[in-house]
């Protein structure tokens, strides 16, 4: 899978997002302009209600801006149909959720395999990749377990495997360690780091976890729907 050439994996140009809450119009993002570089750990931080989650949703293409331009993986998402955007997500974007969000009736193996079905790969290829991913997260032995038979850390590892098995250009993680204890959380962060290096994937997080924050190579601070700070760390 060839990666798009270009420095930025995400570009926002004056993005505004409003929505209605009852009779009131709420402005979640009020003219945000930013660019996220490829192949690094990027972090979005800010207090709750700052528009952090909205920003992530727009980056993940699971929501559309009210005005402004959103470009992900070199693709302007503005005019795309729902079918096209869904397909885009299937190929290019992986998600890791705070609540793991694994499919309860599928085994670990099947959960990891699931995104590959959306890509239309043949059975042999799917098996190869799924097993490789499971091994990468160290859960090959638990592949037949259902989510309710796994611990929180194990579930998140499965979720990461699921997000990465399709070798996406962009991985989004909203508070991935929030539901884990600190030790498990640390091991998850290590895992993500390792995988990021191996696959040269772009990771965008939102988090409060200091350990994760310490790995950030670029940080975007949001407050009241606006980008208030942007830092680049670790000489990336």
């Amino acid at each position: 899978m060839a990666k798009e050439a270009g420095r930025d994996v995400v570009r926002f140009l004056n993005v505004v997002k409003t929505y209605e809450e009852g009779a009131v119009n709420v402005t979640a993002l009020n003219g945000v302009t930013l660019a996220v570089r490829r192949g690094i750990f990027s972090m979005i931080v800010g207090p709750s209600g700052s528009g952090k989650t909205t920003l992530l949703n727009l980056i993940g293409c699971i929501d559309r801006p009210t005005t402004g331009t959103v470009e992900v993986c070199g693709q302007a998402v503005a005019g795309m149909s729902d079918r096209a955007i869904t397909d885009f997500r299937a190929h290019k974007i992986g998600f890791v959720f705070q609540g793991f969000n694994l499919h309860p009736v599928l085994s670990a193996y099947e959960n990891v395999e699931y995104p590959l079905l959306l890509l239309g790969l043949n059975a042999r290829e799917r098996r190869k990749r799924t097993i490789a991913m499971l091994e990468a997260v160290g859960l090959y032995d638990h592949r037949k377990h259902r989510p309710n038979q796994l611990s929180g850390g194990q579930k998140q590892r499965v979720a990461i495997a699921r997000a990465l098995v399709k070798e996406p250009e962009l991985v989004l993680a909203d508070e991935p360690t929030a539901n884990l204890d600190s030790r498990t959380g640390a091991s998850i962060v290590e895992l993500m780091r390792r995988i990021q290096r191996e696959h040269s994937a772009s990771f965008v997080f939102s988090t409060h976890d200091p350990h994760l924050m310490s790995h950030a190579e670029e940080t975007f601070m949001i407050r009241d729907g606006q980008l208030v700070d942007h830092r680049v760390e670790n000489g990336a």
């Binding site: 079918r83 869904t86 997500r89 299937a90 969000n101 309860p104 599928l106 959306l118």
Partner: protein, 468 residues
């Protein structure tokens, strides 16, 4: 796609109790529709069998008889019926379809048992005994397997014997002679009119000179005088010996019914040397051939310029046609109610599932699952509920049917003269009904699941993910 199926099945097990309740409701609905439908179908077929046994499938008349002949049957006879029967019997298209082709006579007149001063109008039906017996053995649907043949009361060995209805037997004071139970003798009307004029002359002596008393009883069978007007308008009378009384179901018919040998009726109505009949009755091997036989018959009659018309048994028995329609309407009404109940049950179940899986739906959509796939997921789950429930219902219906059949219950159908056995068809004629009910319920289940499925598909991903 197989993932969708796999997930669907697992989801059914996920909330096993709810799935079970839903499928049970569908199963009960299916079983009810099937049992009731089979009952209706069996009723109709039994009715049809009775009608076809007595009156065949098609009757051929002189043109105009159907509309006007009842007032004057003698004027609307089919002349030379043997040649018409031969014509039909030799036709290559009709020959394999026809089981019996027989001439019949319908007439009316006065029947008298003057020994007890009783007389009344009678409606006479003349049949050829061997043909009537064969017609009475028609059992295309296998409903009367193992039942003994019903005696027809007329015979070729003696053309003057026959049977009459119980009502007319009662009116003519023949109950005792015919061993009919629960039958009062008619009162002798007391003669209260005053004596008129002078003492009458001795008629008894005059009468006795010539009255060779016609034998009142013939091998134990009481005698009736049947009086009618011939086609020429002349009075004609014949002795008729009654060997039994047979209830005819409908009272108006029972009070005047006489069944006699065809030749006796023919001689009475048309004279000794006649070759006329009021109708030619055709009984087919199968009712399904009716349209084809009618068409060919019309063609044949028209091509020979015969002034004859045909009617089928539904036209001659409006009661049958109405009964069939009515029963069919009831079935559709009840089946519709069942289907609506199934619809609501599945809508409810699927809506609840959609609500519970909101987060799951959002996740799937985020990962890249298309809306249509989500829609199909829930629709499939609905159809599985419908399919499994309907299948269970089919099995239930079969079991209920076998159970009821083993009980040998008898029911008297309206308008019939004898009670008949209640059978739920577990034969091939029930197959279309079963397939139909199954398909309808599965379609209803899919339709029911579709709206909530659509809702699921169209959910905004962000809102869905916010759900826990």
């Amino acid at each position: 796609m197989s993932a969708v199926v796999k997930i669907a099945f697992r989801n059914l097990r996920r909330n096993a109790r709810r799935s079970f309740m839903t499928m049970s409701a569908i199963a009960v609905g299916a079983a009810a529709m099937l049992c009731f439908g089979q009952f209706i179908a069996e009723t109709i077929l039994e009715f049809q069998t009775g009608v076809v046994r007595q009156n065949g499938h098609i009757s051929i008349f002189h043109a105009g008889y159907f509309d006007f002949g009842a007032g004057n049957p003698a004027a609307y006879g089919i002349s030379d019926y043997p040649s018409v029967i031969r014509l039909i019997g030799n036709d290559p298209v009709l020959k394999p379809l026809i089981r019996v082709a027989t001439p019949t006579i319908s007439m009316f007149g006065i029947a008298g048992n003057y020994g007890v001063d009783a007389s009344t109008t009678f409606s006479g039906n003349g049949y050829v005994p061997a043909d009537l017996r064969k017609m009475g053995s028609w059992d295309r649907y296998g409903l009367f397997r193992g039942w003994p043949p019903i005696p027809i009361g007329i015979t070729d060995s003696d053309e003057s014997v026959g049977v009459i209805g119980v009502g007319i037997a009662r009116i003519l004071g023949e109950c005792a002679a015919l061993h009919v139970a629960n039958c009062p003798t008619p009162p002798r009307v007391a003669d209260v009119s005053p004596a008129i004029g002078a003492a009458p002359p001795d008629f008894a002596e005059l009468a006795k000179r010539d009255m060779t008393s016609v034998a009142p009883v013939h091998h134990g069978a009481p005698r009736l005088d049947l009086l009618t007007a011939t086609s020429q308008g002349a009075p004609n009378v014949a002795s008729f010996f009654v060997i039994g009384a047979e209830s005819q179901g409908i009272r108006a018919i029972d009070d005047s019914y006489v069944r006699m040998h065809f030749n006796l009726a023919r001689r009475l109505l048309y004279g000794r040397n006649s070759t006329e009949a009021t109708a030619i009755v055709l009984q087919l091997n199968s009712t399904a051939d009716l349209a084809l036989a009618q068409e060919r018959l019309q063609f044949l009659l028209k091509s020979r310029h015969l002034n004859l018309e045909t009617r089928d048994f539904t036209q001659l028995n409006p009661f049958y046609a109405q009964g069939e329609q009515f029963l069919g309407a009831i079935f559709i009404f009840i089946a519709s109610i069942m289907a609506v109940i199934v619809l609501f049950t599945v809508v409810n179940t699927t809506s609840m599932a959609v609500l519970e899986r909101t987060n799951e739906i959002g996740t799937a959509r985020a990962i890249g699952v298309q809306r249509s796939t989500i829609r199909w997921q829930f629709a499939l789950e609905g159809s599985l509920l419908g399919g499994i429930g309907a299948t269970a219902g089919l099995v239930m219906a079969q079991l209920i049917g076998l159970f009821l059949n083993a009980l040998h219950i008898s029911i008297a159908m309206p308008g019939s003269s004898q009670p008949s056995r209640l059978i739920l068809l577990t034969s091939s004629t029930a197959a279309p009904l079963m397939i139909g009910v199954w398909l309808v319920l599965v379609v209803v289940a899919i339709m029911a699941a579709w709206v909530p499925a659509n809702q699921a598909a169209r959910m905004p991903i962000v809102d869905a993910l916010r759900h826990v």
